[in-house]
């Protein structure tokens, strides 16, 4: 695969850069590493996962008690808001020991020198995760900046009953998906197969990832931004075309109107991820048991590849005075069977650890999908086909431009490639403005 070779090259390049800086950092950080500590240690953990306090209790009463490491959970807002908060705290040298971070935020955090390399402490954990998942926590270097916690492999959700009613078949390719949308429009003009929503950039990023896009890569000490690469263009043109011809809706997701559309069968499918049952439970409670899950449509028939939408990891900050202890906890939380079971039960996450995906917690389907007994077996198979991702240090800027540019394009039913160009332009301009090396 040409990709692997390229990736290795990139990895080496980044590793060299990092190696140099790691050397420089050695003198200051080795003193406050956990090894020399004596007596009990208490750690603070910023996370937005619901029910995490109960999982952490297991640690504090079990392995943590033995090792005299007590972890305290501080509940936080999710996603980008937390990244900002971590960076602000890090600026004051007061970031907590442990933080939850989405995969696409890791380069931003590393680039601000907020995350510690915990490779020595958690290196053995590597075998527990799919390679594409683990690679996101190393940024392609020899360092390890986080332990994967949950993942969001993308899937296709559809109303089984309504598909039957309108004589639709589950699309295996995106061409078939477009045909299905048109067929439904013809049969029921007031209904939509789905909507193209511009208010969650992660969805589009995942779709591009499936198509083989590589948004951020490096060559030498320069970043190369490929948001307008062929793969992403293909995805943008596909959805832009569907919106323009009116085959799918153009209104955003997660609104009361969207909930109603799902609940009443006005929209009969949703391109989403493994966490969709949770969202559907609250958005469309009346249609419980009427949905089914299938793999994402493919660009070429016979292939099997998916993108990821969501997912996060546990990282140790450079401000922590007990990095080893913190890394020990991070490894336990995301690889220990008991911890993962509790995470699945208390927090409803889909674990990144491959063994946990088939553990006892996932033998039964989610309650909402009781009609699909093999839900999690299928999910685990799909998760294996996740395409690799390539995140860079200013994902936030790209995501913001996506929301505004694609939001306007969806509203006006205008050219999506122009919106994509804007996304590329703004992302490159921001990198340059900050002083990053940028390869044209």
């Amino acid at each position: 695969m040409p990709y692997t070779k390229h990736r290795r090259l990139v990895g080496t390049a980044v590793a060299v850069t990092l190696g140099a800086s790691a050397l420089a950092a050695c003198g200051s950080s080795s003193d406050d590493d956990g090894e020399a500590r004596s007596g009990p240690v208490s750690l603070t953990y910023w996370t937005w996962t619901p029910g995490m306090d109960k999982v952490v209790d297991l640690w504090n009463k079990g392995p943590g008690k033995k090792e005299q490491i007590t972890v305290t959970v501080k509940k936080q807002a999710s996603g980008d808001t937390l990244v900002t908060k971590i960076l602000t705290a890090h600026k004051a040298g007061k970031a907590p020991d442990l933080v939850q971070a989405e995969y696409q935020a890791l380069p931003t955090l590393v680039s601000n020198d907020a995350l510690a390399d915990i490779g020595d402490a958690v290196g053995d954990a590597k075998s527990r995760f799919a390679e594409g998942v683990w690679q996101q926590t190393t940024l392609g270097t020899d360092a390890v900046y986080a332990v994967p916690q949950d993942i969001g492999p993308m899937m296709f959700y559809y109303r089984e009953d309504l598909f039957k009613e309108y004589g639709l078949t589950v699309p295996a390719t995106w061409d078939e998906f477009a045909e299905t949308a048109r067929k439904l429009k013809k049969a029921a003009p007031d209904k939509d197969l789905t909507t193209f929503s511009a208010n969650d950039s992660g969805l589009f990023a995942g779709l591009a990832q499936q198509a083989g896009a590589r948004w951020w890569t490096t060559s030498g000490d320069r970043w190369k931004v490929g948001i307008d690469d062929e793969a992403t263009k293909k995805v943008a043109e596909f959805w832009g075309g569907l919106v323009a011809e009116g085959a799918v809706d153009n209104q955003p997701m997660y609104t009361p109107a969207w909930n109603k559309a799902l609940n009443t069968g006005k929209q009969i499918a949703w391109v989403s991820a493994v966490w969709a049952p949770g969202t559907l439970t609250t958005a469309a409670p009346d249609t419980k048991g009427k949905w089914a899950m299938a793999p994402l449509p493919q660009w070429t028939g016979g292939e099997s590849s998916t993108g990821s939408w969501g997912g996060s990891s546990t990282a140790v900050t450079t401000d922590s005075a007990n990095k080893d202890a913190a890394a020990k906890f991070a490894a336990w939380l995301n690889t220990d069977g008991e911890a993962l079971n509790a995470l699945a039960k208390e927090s409803g996450i889909y674990p990144a650890s491959t063994s946990a995906q088939l553990s006892g917690a996932f033998t039964n389907p989610p309650e909402y999908f009781a009609n699909q007994p093999d839900f999690y077996d299928k999910a685990a198979d799909i998760a294996k086909t996740t395409a690799p991702s390539a995140w860079g240090p200013n994902v936030n800027v790209a995501y913001t431009t996506f929301k505004d540019a694609f939001g306007a394009a969806a509203k006006n039913k205008s050219d999506f490639t122009a919106a994509l160009d804007a996304m590329q332009r703004d992302t490159v301009a921001d990198l340059k403005k900050q002083g990053f090396g940028v390869a044209e």
């Binding site: 020198d113 450079t318 913001t400 939001g407």
Partner: protein
């Protein structure tokens, strides 16, 4: 500088007899400053200092080198006016200001017009249920802005709004309230709904302070209720109108929570719809606090110039009228 003599009881004891001695007089002159100290200290700590810090930040920037990974790849450097030229040449900031101008052009006249009308109606003699009505009009002000925006947002969405249900049943056209021109009306409506009550109370309180003799004199001169309202009441509450206008301008320039709350419901509100939203986005979405600080400084200056410019113009006018 404080000589112990200033504080001796001896000096204080002498003061009541005849002319106060020079130290006592000096102390009396110093007293106001002493009383000012807590306020000045708080002002310095929680107002001047943060503003000063923001201004300091606005003259700096972060420079990254290479891939920007690892320690030492980022340093804060002096930026001079770079952030300011960047902000002023950013068309999004200007567009945001224009959008807010359009929004303010609807909100301020409508809200103050209604507030004045309601205040005059409540103040008229024939009104019934005045306390209840006053409370009912004022109540929306007690609803937090975000809650109000959410509430109205639900009512604006055709699929969940009872209004649209009625329109649908009656076979009437259903406007898209979250797009184009109607979006401005939709946003203004939230502000008017929430703000009219407060402004009404301010004007109403001023109306109640007008002495009854003035009305009596007007009535003796043959003025009806309408004439009293137009020729006596409105001119006499002019200072309150100026005050409410002043507050409204500032509130308009700072509009943030309503569009931010409506944003997830529609594709028409961008992340940089109003200038403050752009500041927020740059600081907390894109992580560029330096650019955000420069924009915030510019917005503060513009607000200052606009509001104090208005105040000066208003007071000059009042003085001219007084001179006539």
């Amino acid at each position: 500088m404080s000589s112990p003599a200033r504080w001796t009881p001896h000096g204080a004891g002498r003061a009541p007899h005849g002319r106060p001695s020079p130290p006592a007089r000096r102390r009396a002159r110093g007293a106001p400053y002493l009383f000012l100290v807590p306020a000045a200290l708080l002002f310095l700590l929680f107002f001047a200092l943060p503003i000063g810090y923001a201004v300091w930040l606005s003259f700096r920037k972060v420079r990254v080198s290479g891939l920007g990974l690892g320690a030492g790849a980022r340093e804060e450097v002096w930026a001079g006016l770079e952030n300011y030229t960047g902000a002023l040449s950013d068309s999004e900031l200007l567009n945001g200001a224009l959008r807010v101008l359009g929004y303010g052009g609807i909100v301020v006249p409508v809200m103050l017009g209604l507030a004045l009308l309601f205040a005059l109606m409540l103040d008229s003699e024939r009104v019934r249920l005045a306390p209840f009505t006053r409370l009912a009009i004022f109540l929306p002000y007690a609803v937090p802005g975000v809650v109000a925006a959410l509430l109205w947002g639900f009512l604006y969405l055709p699929d969940v709004s009872p209004f649209f249900f009625v329109l649908d049943r009656l076979g009437l056209p259903q406007p898209d309230l979250l797009d184009g021109g109607p979006l401005y009306l939709a946003l203004s409506n939230i502000a008017v709904w929430g703000g009219t009550g407060f402004n009404m109370i301010v004007i109403y309180t001023a109306l109640r302070a007008i002495p009854a003799e003035v009305y009596e004199a007007a009535r003796l001169d043959g003025a009806g209720p309408l004439q009293i309202a137009l020729r006596i009441k409105i001119p006499m509450v002019a200072p309150s109108l100026v005050l409410t206008f002043f507050f409204s301008i500032i509130a308009t320039l700072q509009v943030f929570s309503e569009p931010t709350t409506l944003k997830p419901l529609t594709n028409s509100v961008s992340t940089t719809w109003s200038p403050l939203m752009k500041v927020y986005q740059d600081a907390f979405g894109n992580g560029d606090i330096h650019a955000a600080a420069a924009q915030a400084t510019i917005i503060a200056l513009v607000t200052l110039v606009l509001s104090f410019g208005f105040l000066r113009a208003a007071s000059r006018r009042t003085k001219q009228e007084a001179a006539r």
